[in-house]
Every structure is written in structure tokens, then in C-alpha cells.
């Protein structure tokens, strides 16, 4: 039973990571590519990590509390937390750097940040 759940999680994870790589090719500019690159990979990685956690929990349960299998579960949970914190942070950094260096969003309907920059607001004082 639990093996079926693990396979389903692995399937979902691989599917979303695949979509992310398609998105990188299909989208027109850096911002929309970041959408694919952050969201889909995070979601896919969450499900891959959940599969590893389930597998580790099963091993831990089968082989007893002191068997040394807790390392798989707990380290994967820590890796998951790190992915959830660092992935959006990296996306912010790339998006902000791109906008500051003059890359404007393609096909943009509205760009409040550019308007504010022109007025001299929105720019950080240093």
C-alpha cells in the first residue's frame, strides 16, 4: 500500500519538474521563466522529498527505533525546509537584478515598478 503512495508521489514530482523544464523553453522572458523555474521545481521537489520521507519512515518503522534509519527522514525534512526558503529567495534576487539592469517584462500589460522608477520613487536610498 505504502509503496503505491511512494510511486504516486514520485510520479507527480517528476511530472512537475518536467513541466518546469518545458516552461523554461516556451516562455518568452526572464520573469515568466522564473515562474516555471521556481514554482514547478519547488512543487516537484516537495513531492520527491515526501516520497523519500515515506520510504524512510517505513524503513524506520520496520527496523526499529534505534536502527539508524531516522537520518533519511530528518535530513530530508531539513532539505525540504531549505528548498522552501531558498528557492523563492533566489527567484527574488534574480528578478530584482534583472529589472534593475533594464530587462523589461515581455508583452507586459502594466509595469508599476518602471513607472515608479521614472518618478524617482521605488528606488532604494543608500
Amino acid at each position: 500500500m505504502i509503496e503505491i503512495i511512494i510511486y504516486v508521489f514520485l510520479g507527480i514530482g517528476v511530472f512537475f519538474n518536467l513541466l518546469a523544464s518545458f516552461g523554461l523553453i516556451r516562455f518568452p522572458d526572464v520573469y515568466t521563466r522564473l515562474h516555471a523555474g521556481t514554482k514547478c521545481t519547488t512543487f516537484g521537489s516537495i513531492f520527491l522529498s515526501l516520497a523519500v520521507i515515506m520510504y524512510g519512515l517505513r524503513l524506520w518503522y520496520l527496523e526499529g527505533f534505534n536502527s539508524g534509519n531516522s537520518v533519511l527522514v530528518i535530513h530530508t525534512i531539513i532539505a525540504l525546509i531549505c528548498i522552501l526558503v531558498t528557492n523563492p529567495t533566489g527567484a527574488h534576487a534574480i528578478a530584482r537584478a534583472a529589472h534593475r539592469s533594464g530587462v523589461m517584462p515581455a508583452k507586459a500589460v502594466v509595469d508599476d515598478l518602471k513607472d515608479d522608477r521614472k518618478k524617482g520613487r521605488g528606488r532604494k536610498k543608500k
Binding site: I78, A91, A95
Partner: protein
């Protein structure tokens, strides 16, 4: 002093998490790892005590952590799943209508703004690009701009981030 104790305890807990199943002396840790962990935690606590904790001890309240957990498992995960299906749809069909909008979530603390920006980046078709540090307003790149949201400036928060500011205010402020 309180800053040092909090930083040390958190450092020690992280060390324990990273060295699970090192032995059988104390649950799943060996005594040697625990001793080394205490020594390193004290060194780390001395170094980071002023960086790690700025001015208040608000996040020491366990209720806030409980609310954070509920938030992550409940509304956050649901909107994240919806976001992924939405982006998947846009990847396949290529229908996008992007733009950068400015929202005013009316948060006061840095931690709150950070948490909201991270939540926004991980959920429905939105990506935070820049922040106005004086007014705590966020600039959001939105992959599918709705016409209704463009009526006033700064844009209405509910189209972009739903109920997130309410949750974040409960957790971080």
C-alpha cells in the same frame, strides 16, 4: 544574555537534528555528539546572538509556530497546488498576460514582509520582484493580470495574494 541563550538552544537543536542516529546512548544520539554539539552551540551562540535576533522575542511563542504549521499545511499548500496547475496550463497552452503590479499588504515588520514575499512567489502565478522598504509595499510580477485588479493604485491585495496577509499578520506580528 537572553539573546545568547535563545541562539544557543536553537543551534543545539539544529545540531541534534543533523546528527540523528549517531548512537544509542540518549535516544538516537551518542553522548560524544551531544557534548560536541553543546560546545559548538555555545560558540555559535556567542557569534550570532546579535545577528540572529534583532529586537524582539515574538517568535518564541509556540502558538505562532503552530499557526505557521497550520498555514503551511492548509491554505498555503492548497493555493500552491492551484498555482502549479495554473502554471502547468500556461506552459502547455502558452497563454500569458504578464505585468508588474504594486500591492500594499499593510505589514509592519521585516519578517512579515519576507514571509509574505516568499508565500507570494510560491503561489498563483505571482513572483515578487522588488520591495519598497519605506512603505513595505511589494512589486509583484503577475503572469495573468486581471482587468478588475487594475482599477486603483496600489492594486487590490485580494487578487494577488488572497488571504495571506491575514495569516502572516497572525504569525509574525
Amino acid at each position: 544574555m537572553k539573546k545568547f541563550i535563545v541562539a544557543t538552544v536553537i543551534g543545539f537543536l539544529v545540531y541534534l537534528l543533523l546528527t540523528t542516529s549517531s548512537g544509542n546512548d540518549f535516544f538516537i544520539w551518542s553522548y560524544s555528539e551531544i557534548v560536541v554539539g553543546i560546545i559548538f552551540a555555545i560558540i555559535v551562540g556567542i557569534i550570532v546572538r546579535n545577528v540572529f535576533i534583532k529586537d524582539n522575542f515574538r517568535m518564541l511563542n509556540p502558538v505562532r509556530w503552530l499557526v505557521l504549521l497550520v498555514y503551511l499545511i492548509g491554505p498555503f499548500f492548497i493555493s500552491m497546488a492551484r498555482a502549479n496547475l495554473d502554471v502547468a496550463y500556461r506552459v502547455i497552452t502558452g497563454r500569458i498576460n504578464p505585468g508588474i503590479v504594486k500591492i500594499d499588504p499593510k505589514l509592519k515588520t521585516d519578517l512579515g514582509v519576507t514571509m509574505l514575499a516568499n508565500s507570494i512567489t510560491l503561489t498563483p502565478g505571482t513572483l515578487s520582484v522588488d520591495v519598497d522598504e519605506d512603505k513595505n509595499q511589494l512589486y509583484i510580477h503577475w503572469i495573468n493580470v486581471k482587468e478588475d485588479a487594475l482599477k486603483k493604485k496600489p492594486r487590490d491585495c485580494k487578487y494577488v495574494c488572497g488571504g495571506f496577509p491575514k495569516w502572516v499578520r497572525r504569525i509574525a506580528e
